[in-house]
Assembly symmetry: none
DNA sequence: CATGAATGAGGATTCATTCAT
DNA sequence: GATGAATGAATCCTCATTCAT
């Protein structure tokens, strides 16, 4: 506000905006927690209580319950894509197999953290209301983005001679299916196995096949 | 109903019981339809309307909503297991690969028919209420039964030299994951591909691997 | 249900329907009472309590609050028109002045009974939402019907030489305005005057004018 | 605020007070606009937005919503009375009929401008809460003031021989009723007629009566 | 057994009002 | 004085469940 202010310079309103952003993020985090625990049964009051604010406040940040859910989906989606892109960047010089491993680990970790939310959104998307059409689209769009990156990676695999080209279009789907299933089974199991212990056989099976060579 | 009944001898109440069973089945079918269309949002009234009876009647056949859901789960589960056992029996003399193919096709077809219900129940099971603990168990139990059969089948595969034994414990899970994912993607896709076109690459990938030999 | 039933014959469901109709009417009556006392602030719970049922029941009879209001408007409107038509019929042989008096008394009495509701609906209609457009139309329609009858009556007045024809189009409006105002002032007054004491000077003023002859 | 103030003599705080008064007036204007458009549904936020300030500010000028409404009522009431008194003063030398015409035109014009507010306040006053008792009184008081002036005017009419004395007590009421009704019908009509075209027949009817002489 | 009206606890949403900045 | 985020009581509406007929 003035030259003596300790805040460097510029962004005069940025503090207020930053707080607003943080509040939004806090709400989204709480919402995810509560939704994870209670599924669609989670009440707005529960979410508010988790953040430590009152219901009304939620509605200062999100139009309604549906918008809150949508924001959660979009935020988490963007986060995953950012993670994946960072990982792809980081491993740029590595061979296909290593990069794939890293890529999948990223997805796995993110999905583990956010799985309940994920499955909730999936379930939601499967309900075919005209009113949810747009929600479904946004959800699919996100996974298309992930598939796209897997396809790109697959091209490297093919060039390295590590992948058979014929079935290439199926690979992203199959890989994602196995990842999703992995997470589901980890959640359902009383004592989940460590990620790496599940990822390795998956990759081995995917690349080498189940049949002996 | 009385001595003058036209049904000759024996099982005097069996007709009544048969009718009762048929009514139950009709309710379950309607329930599945409505749940598939509307998800958890399906109301008891909707289900009753679909069967063509009034709500009250539903409660003559099922304790409450939760029991109805449970009955649906159990019924469909038993149906699937029966299908699978029949298929295994039928293909008893065939080689591993063919039997696996048949087995998976069974699952796939059943899952396609009942997928919305399946995902609903899954979602339900993921909610960690103390009150649902038992539901979760029953749900897992069912899939354990399926896995068990896959393991059995796997043993044949190993003996035939068609499967590497090291990762054998992971195979049922991975296969089921891919099946589940397949169904999900078919549902989400606007124009679903034919089953066989998806199953073949899946099996090829599973057995031979994605890498060229 | 069978030939021996004491209910003559026919209308097999009419008892159920009759009860349903009576329930609807009871709800409308209660709604009018409560709305009269509390205006738009009347809560659905209040109305339910007045009928002696629970909220849910209201929603078995009316879509929502707005529909209930609309039903109230239409019912009372139809009742008024029926009263007026009966009065017009009854007085068919009488001279204009007497018929007008009777007609206005009908309106006045009906309006006194239902005034609060009336003013509520008027107030509602004055709010120019696109969503209420239809409500407004129905409201106006009703008063157009009343005006129409006043115009008809006016024609008799003109033929009898009791009305000047030049201003005839204005008379229905002016008369209704005065009626409405009369009711308002009766309500606002702590000790309302008897109807007849107000109606007579009104008619005198309307027909003879305020100026001495 | 203090002797050193630059404002020369007198009213040292008057500038501050003037600004305060203007702010109040601005709020009242905005409130009336919004209330006219949305009725009781108008929210404090809407009003604030219309003035271009934030909600909090409204509460610096008015205790609460009810006080704001009351202030609006009183202000508009005083304005009307001032208008009427000015008109009466202006027309002091004119004959009764002309003065009455001017008087009514004043009311009509004021009511047209502020009608929605008026009907809102009326509706409000009709709600018989103990809590609103005082509001009702103030509202009636205002109209009594108007009636009083009409009575005064009527005395002139009687002395001029333009009014029959017998019904004199009823005239103010009947006239006001007709005015109110006029405005209502103008508002409800899709295409309102010009004021003068409605006022003339009204006066003619009132003074000469509807019957031919 | 079937019916379907009644129940009422429960949840999403709104909005007047407060108060820390 | 102005701001506007936070508050939470209040209200509409839903729907699983019951029970008299």
């Amino acid at each position: 506000m003035n030259a003596r202010s300790t805040t460097p310079r510029g962004k005069p309103q940025s503090m207020r905006m930053r707080m607003k952003e943080e509040a939004r993020a806090a709400i989204l985090d709480a919402a995810e927690q509560v939704l994870s625990e209670q599924g669609q049964a989670a009440r707005m009051d529960d979410i508010a209580a988790r953040v430590g604010v009152s219901v009304g406040t939620l509605y200062n940040y999100f139009e309604d319950r549906q918008q809150l859910l949508a924001a959660l989906r979009d935020t988490r989606g963007r986060e995953l894509l950012a993670l994946l892109d960072a990982e792809l960047e980081r491993s740029l010089q590595n061979p296909y197999r290593a990069r794939l491993h890293g890529f999948l680990r990223c997805i796995l970790e993110h999905s583990q953290t956010h799985f309940r939310l994920l499955s909730l959104l999936l379930e939601d998307s499967l309900r075919r209301d005209a009113s949810r059409e747009e929600d479904l689209d946004r959800h699919l769009e996100m996974w298309r983005e992930v598939s796209l990156r897997l396809e790109h990676l697959g091209e490297q695999g093919i060039q390295e001679g590590a992948l058979r080209p014929e079935d290439a279009p199926h690979y992203p789907g199959l890989l994602l299916d196995m990842m999703y299933g992995l997470v589901v089974r980890q959640l359902l199991a009383k004592q989940p196995s460590p990620t790496e212990a599940l990822l390795a056989p998956l990759l081995r099976c995917f690349l080498e096949g189940a049949a002996p060579r």
